[in-house]
């Protein structure tokens, strides 16, 4: 299958590959997977005191579209609030990367990874508040 130029660009030069310190109270981790294709995606976000995402890193095992989807969202996430991040829709990702219908699930994976990471940071913040 032919990949779009944007997918190829992210696939060949993925942005923000790596990890953040998962024990940092300001870091949220989202891990999701797709059984059908065996894709695994880990997304980590670092949030400052104003609720703005300062840094985002990802690690994805999967096809080019899954890697491109996660690479793209790490770029989008920086500078956004966690609520703005939570509102990102898979259709926006699919549209930006011109994903064909059979690869839409890769963008679903990326959206769900963001939601999982935001949920994780919120749970951490809540736990910290209750402990204080």
């Amino acid at each position: 299958m032919a990949y779009s130029d944007k997918v190829l660009d992210h696939y060949e030069n993925p942005r923000n590959v790596g990890t953040l310190d998962k024990n940092d109270p300001n870091v949220g981790t989202g891990m999701v997977g797709a059984p059908a294709c065996g894709d695994v995606m880990k997304l980590m976000i670092k949030v400052n005191d104003n609720g703005i995402i300062e840094d985002a890193k990802f690690k994805t095992y999967g096809c080019g579209s899954a890697i491109a989807s996660s690479s793209l969202v790490t770029e989008w996430l920086k500078g956004r609030t966690i609520d703005e991040a939570y509102a990102i829709k898979n259709s926006e990702i699919a549209e930006e990367l011109a994903l064909p219908p059979v690869k839409i699930h890769c963008s679903v994976l990326a959206e769900d990874a963001i939601k999982a990471a935001v949920a994780d940071i919120k749970a951490k913040q809540l736990a910290a508040k209750e402990a204080a």
Partner: protein, 172 residues
């Protein structure tokens, strides 16, 4: 065709099936519908038997492999194990998957067939344990919700095993 895949081979719809029976009954059907037997048959009959041959083949492949068998058992309950909108899996399971993918990637880069063979063995142990859980969940408890979670894991494992095997073949 109202028969399900299990009925086609005179099997009970269970996870723990008798593979020998599956094999024997598949061969039987294959022999019955072999195209050579219908060379002179009228076209509609030929088509009918061709359909049956295709169906039997599909059914056999589905039931033979534990992951696809489990997935099919869930389909009979109206459950899709690999729905694309369901991406939630236990974190420790996904971490493990990621570790295996890393070992696989390094193994390919370093051309270490032994490492990959060991990985296959390690995964086999996990697969065995998931299969035992599925016998309990499908055949004893009929707990299809928990069976779905375990089936999703098994499908994941089948995919990673397949990728490792392909990598080994390419390195050999």
């Amino acid at each position: 065709m109202t028969q399900n895949y299990f009925e086609l081979f005179a099997l009970e719809a269970k996870f723990n099936i008798e593979l020998q029976t599956l094999e024997t009954n598949f061969r039987k059907i294959q022999a019955e519908v072999h195209p050579d037997r219908f060379v002179t048959a009228p076209a509609p009959e030929k088509i009918k038997f061709m359909h049956l041959a295709t169906l039997a083949n599909e059914a056999y492949q589905t039931l033979k492999h534990p992951a696809t068998r489990a997935k099919y058992l869930l389909e009979l309950q109206g459950i899709s194990a690999i729905s694309e909108t369901n991406t939630a899996m236990p974190t420790d399971f996904l971490m493990q998957q990621m570790e295996w993918r890393e070992v696989l990637e390094n193994g390919i880069a370093e051309k270490e067939v032994d490492t990959l063979e060991n990985l296959i063995q390690e995964i086999k142990v996990e697969v065995k344990s998931l299969q035992l859980q599925l016998i309990e969940l499908f055949d004893v408890k009929k707990d299809f919700t928990s069976a779905t979670d375990v089936t999703r894991k098994l499908i994941f494992m089948a995919k990673v095993s397949e990728d490792i095997k392909h990598a080994i073949e390419r390195l050999d």
